[in-house]
Amino acid sequence: MSIKRISVLLGKEFLHGSRNYIFIFAIVAPLLISLIVSLIFGTFLTEKPRLGVLDVGSSQLVPMIQELDSLTTKEYSNITEIQDAVKTGAVDVGIVFPADSDSSIQDDGVTELTAYVWGESLAKNRTIITVTITNLVRELAGQESPVNIETITLGDEASVPWNDRLLPFIVLMTVFLGGLLLPATSLINEKTRKTLSALVVTPTTIGDIFAAKGLMGIILSLFMGILILVINQAFGAEPLLLTLMLVLGGIMAVEIGLLLGISVKDFTTLFTIWKMGGIILFAPVFIYLFPQIPAWIGRIFPTYYIIQPIVDLSQRGGSWPDIAVNVFILIGLNLILLGLVLFVLKRTRQMVA
């Protein structure tokens, strides 16, 4: 393989392949769906996290919270009112500051607070509120003292917001449209138009062609994946790990795309396979769409190992230890697929060599 020839072919893919309708579809479709979901489920240009406060003893923290632009704060006068507000979703989180809260913050080593959390609130809103309160408590205490916030979930915990439920589907679709469909259609296009034959009678090898198309798929799926996570405000938590997951997901998509591209004759067959195989690829998203479905079912499907770590990182405040096992399984799956791609490449090279 030659890096120079791969870069020449990659340039051709981006300059001229971008006029291809699949290329445009791979960019437009995830953005459009993301926009529609945000508009329908109400977090497009999202409102700030809403915090309810019950201030029993005139805590100094309450005015500090009210001054913050990043939160919408509402004060309640008794415990029933704040619990009702959380249950109905009027606020994402309700915090109770007891009568002696300030003195216990300043005197004791550990601060204990009770927070009521609306079961359907967005994960990122919960995280923002918790982190903000913790920082303010430490500011008031004047030291890095430990803060324990006991959370009590109110409302229907199973009713995860639709934004959160649909995000795995949108991310997976983004990764697979760019990573799978684009290299596959590009290879089939080269075969049906016979331009592949023209390329392989130059010093260009099948390996160069595979590499260029694969790189194009990974770059596009990574770029679009990051964009979709950013638009859905789900990229902030662990950007490096999320990028790693998108790259690994892109590699899996590209490997499947190249296998399909070289073995499928025409677009009709490809789209038939896409429709049928799509059930396997997209099956794991059902466990997020309908949380009643047992989560273990997702583990049967290879794409679960792409999407579960992304959900853990972007929605559940997870970090490397939470996703490590799934990442290693995904790497294993990618290596198996790579073996298949290399086998097909060798066979194709023998045929075309």
Binding site: R5, K12, H16, R193, T195, V201, T202, P203, V352, A353
Partner: protein
């Protein structure tokens, strides 16, 4: 003496049980045009693919410029140019973009695409998308693409098929220019007249085998029938054809007798065509 640019030894290929190419051997020298003739299914394209490294021979060996095609395929491909029968250009790209792409794939540092387009009669159309081109223009661009790297061996598969006379002539001129530059040209064609006109030697292929290989002149000498064709006027005033085969002991007497006994209206000599010879050798036509 020119050295061999293409050397095929006992080249064989079969698709399952079907033998497409059956132990064929031939050489093509530098600055030589070899016409490769045969009907559909004769094995021309399979031979073409084995020589250009697209198919690995099941038996035998193909060498280009003394390099084994299967072992040094990348080096070989840097030295060859291939023009396919079917148009396989990037149609959404312009002509100049097509040529530049291939020049970069061949690793050329300097390349004048405009000069090449001028050579094939496409000057001024270089920035137009190929999809707007006529069939003749596309074919000329295909030929241009095949000589981007100034190949030492040029493979042309039916380069003038279905083209108007002007486009065909333009392509023939380029083939002759490439031979003059020193390239060996491997030309597969159905067009016997074209092969006769261009080729230094021709090979007839039938059912996977080469049934004859020589210069067109020698083939005509060896297998052709030279004759005198005459039209004579009968007593009724009607015209009838007469034919006298040349190169026979009784030819002279037959000519004397013709003029003595008949009223000769027209007379001309006729040489066998490659097509006649092909039919004689294979018992079938080219299509």
């Amino acid at each position: 003496m020119s050295r061999n640019a293409i050397s095929a030894e006992e080249l064989t290929y079969h698709y399952g049980e079907l033998v497409a190419v059956d132990h064929i051997s031939f050489n093509v020298a530098e600055s030589e045009i070899m016409g490769f003739l045969g009907p559909n299914g004769a094995g021309k394209t399979t031979t073409f693919k084995m020589l250009t490294g697209q198919l690995k021979p099941k038996e035998g060996q193909a060498k280009l410029l003394d390099m084994d095609v299967t072992k040094r395929v990348e080096r070989v491909r840097g030295e060859i140019g291939v023009c396919f029968e079917d148009t396989n250009l990037y149609e959404q790209m312009s002509a100049i973009e097509n040529l530049n792409l291939f020049a970069r794939l061949f690793g050329l540092r300097s390349f004048d695409g405009d000069a090449l387009l001028k050579r094939v009669g496409l000057a001024g159309r270089g920035n137009d998308k190929v999809e707007t081109y006529s069939k003749g223009m596309k074919q000329r661009l295909m030929v241009a693409r095949s000589i981007v790297n100034k190949p030492r061996v040029l493979f042309l598969d039916e380069p003038t098929a279905g083209l108007d006379p002007v486009s065909s002539e333009s392509i023939r001129n380029i083939i002759i220019e490439e031979r003059a530059r020193g390239a060996a040209v491997f030309l597969t064609t159905h067009d016997m007249l074209e092969a006769d006109k261009l080729s230094d030697r021709v090979a007839f292929m039938n059912q996977g085998r080469i049934v004859a290989l020589d210069t067109p002149h020698q083939l005509k000498q060896q297998y052709g029938k030279r004759a005198l064709k005459a039209k004579v006027s009968t007593d009724d005033g009607e015209l009838e054809d007469r034919e006298i085969t040349l190169d026979k002991p009784e030819t002279l007497d037959a000519v004397h007798e013709l003029f003595a006994r008949e009223k000769v209206v027209t007379i001309h000599s006729e040489e066998a065509t490659l097509e006649d010879i092909f039919i004689r050798l294979t018992g079938r036509g080219l299509v």
